[in-house]
């Protein structure tokens, strides 16, 4: 076992904030290494939910009473905190959705259906999650546009030369994942944005995996859209973020119609509300968005840099341990990664590993990770993926490595 390497980083104090970490699974202390799927929630988030429902549950933006005022203020406070979390210029640039998936669908639909012409090209990469493939396929098909895919090498690194050759005057949009959920590999989104803008193409960054690990500054990046999910940054499920440059969001038509998103409705004509409400039809997910703020605060209080340093140390420790296992191949074994270690083992199906690890109280993810084209490109059915968060420890990695060795022995 290694000592905690970060000065001042106290993992025990952090663990104490997460009630679920006291849980036993199959009679053992839970080891939760499926953080890339969803992160666990600190007590502040859980309490914010019950506090809202016990003290000021009300519909927002419309009531003229104390509860409605309090709920509206708390809801909008989250918008401000997300604004600062990603360095957006103004809060209206933050649109609340259900999740990354809905955010991408919103852009693909609202922008694609009004801007794509026959023969136009959209570029994605071989690393995309299905959420950043299917919406583009749908709108490309509807509009007669073409979807092009940036190739990768065997380690999951983007072929930037191929990308440059792909760009042309027909390129209208580039939608790219920041960090791969299946491999952890970080893409050079700064370069991609600069290159795409030379051809006046818009760029959406899928930050579902990066938002919790990497410092994000949308103004510095100069991305046109950026999307992520609250549940992966220690917040509640059902909270998605769409950042868009204000001028772009103003130009786009609404995505759904209903209450909240209107200014005035007559049967002849409806005028739409201003940003961000134009894109937030109906009663939003008030409670969960209110409880997203303490999740952001949790990250900011410890400092994303400090969390990242801890996670990076865990990643390197785990990588070293796993590399000693016979027949184990780390997929996406590159230096520039978020804290995801994805691997295959010769002659062992990932599902068998997941079952045997679960019996030892360890939660990992196995399968195609919603990235079937990527698995096909790598020539594998799936991987086993361990992903680390602020509360994971070196000891847990030791136990994981032992459990893994034991599982391999049982299967060989």
């Amino acid at each position: 076992m290694m000592a905690e390497s970060q000065s001042g980083y106290n993992v025990e104090t952090i663990r104490n904030l997460f009630p679920i970490l006291n849980r036993k699974v199959k009679g053992r202390d839970l080891i939760y290494f499926d953080n890339a799927a969803t992160a666990q929630k600190p007590i502040q988030v859980i309490e914010a939910l019950t506090h809202y429902y016990s003290h000021y549950n009300a519909n927002i933006h419309r009531g003229l009473h104390t509860l409605a005022d309090e709920a509206t203020a708390a809801f909008e406070a989250t918008r401000h905190s997300i604004q600062h979390f990603i360095g957006a210029a103004v809060p209206e640039e933050i649109i609340f959705t259900k999740g990354t998936t809905e955010s991408i669908n919103l852009v693909a639909s609202a922008w694609g259906n009004t801007h794509l012409q026959k023969g136009d090209e959209i570029i994605i990469s071989s690393l995309e999650h299905h959420a950043n493939i299917v919406p583009w396929q749908m709108v490309a098909e509807a509009r007669g546009a073409q979807l092009r895919v940036i190739p990768i090498d065997d380690n999951g690194v983007l072929d930037m030369e191929a990308f440059q050759n792909m760009l042309n005057e027909k390129t209208r949009f580039v939608s790219i994942v920041h960090a791969s959920n299946a491999l952890g590999v970080i893409n050079p989104v700064e370069d991609i944005i600069t290159l795409a803008h030379k051809f006046d193409a818009l760029v959406l960054v899928d930050a579902a995996q990066s938002s919790v690990h990497l410092e994000l500054d949308v103004q510095q990046l100069d991305c046109d859209f950026l999307v992520f999910s609250g549940h992966k940054i220690y917040g509640p499920t059902g909270t998605g973020i769409l950042y868009g440059k204000k001028a772009l969001l103003e130009m786009l038509p609404p995505y759904q119609g209903g209450g909240e998103m209107i200014k005035e409705v007559t049967f002849e004509k409806t005028t739409y509300n201003e940003l961000p409400f134009k894109f937030e039809a109906g009663t939003p997910n008030i409670a969960d968005f209110i409880a997203l703020k303490p999740a952001v605060d949790f990250i900011q209080d410890i400092g994303k840099k400090n969390i990242h340093a801890h996670e990076d140390a865990l990643l390197r420790y785990a990588t070293e341990k796993l590399e000693t296992i016979d027949g184990l191949h780390i997929r996406g074994n590159v230096a520039n990664k978020v804290s995801v270690v994805s691997f295959t083992i010769d002659d062992i199906h990932p599902q068998d590993l997941a079952i045997l690890l679960d019996n030892q109280g360890i939660a990992v993810r196995t399968g195609h990770h919603c990235a079937q084209p990527l698995m096909k490109r790598l020539g594998i059915v799936g991987t086993t993926r361990a992903s680390f968060a602020a509360y994971n420890t070196f000891e847990e990695i030791d136990i994981f490595a032992q459990a893994l060795n034991k599982s391999i022995k049982m299967l060989k």
Partner: protein, 145 residues
């Protein structure tokens, strides 16, 4: 002879086999061993026509009909699932179509295997059993007895 024993009797015996093991390791090792010993499925049956869609692993089941009884062969790319395939084959292969169709099939739930896989609620296993019963009902309809 296996043919002479009822589905319920085979299930009972297998349940007792599993009950002998005290730890989860022993139960899984036994299951994995069953998978390993499952006779190879001819490559000509390892095609999409014989494939059953599970969630993460693939299962192939081939059946045939002889002297009024239904026989099954199968395979999986995952070892633990292959053990489950082997268990189901031991229980159902060589039985009468009507008996297969009507069998309540409790063995896997009674093995004490804790994985979600081993519960008939799980899609993969349910799909496998459904396919075996469907095959049996087709043979039953073609030779009513």
């Amino acid at each position: 002879m296996q043919e002479t024993r009822s589905i319920a009797a085979i299930e009972q015996e297998l349940t007792e086999d599993f009950a002998m093991f005290e730890t989860w390791e022993e139960k899984y090792e036994y299951l994995i061993d069953l998978g390993r010993k499952l006779p190879m499925l001819d490559a000509s049956f390892k095609t999409d026509d014989y494939k059953i869609k599970g969630c993460q692993s693939s299962v192939w089941i081939h059946s045939y009909h002889k002297d009024g009884l239904v026989y099954f062969e199968g395979d999986s790319d995952a070892m633990i699932v292959k053990g489950l395939v082997s268990l189901m084959i031991q229980v159902l292969s060589g039985q009468k179509p009507a008996d297969i169709v009507q069998a309540p099939l409790s063995v896997i739930e009674n093995t004490g295997l804790s994985s979600h896989l081993a519960q008939t609620r799980s899609n993969g296993l349910r799909a496998m059993i459904k396919q075996m019963k469907l095959d049996a009902s087709v043979y039953g309809a073609s030779s009513p007895q």
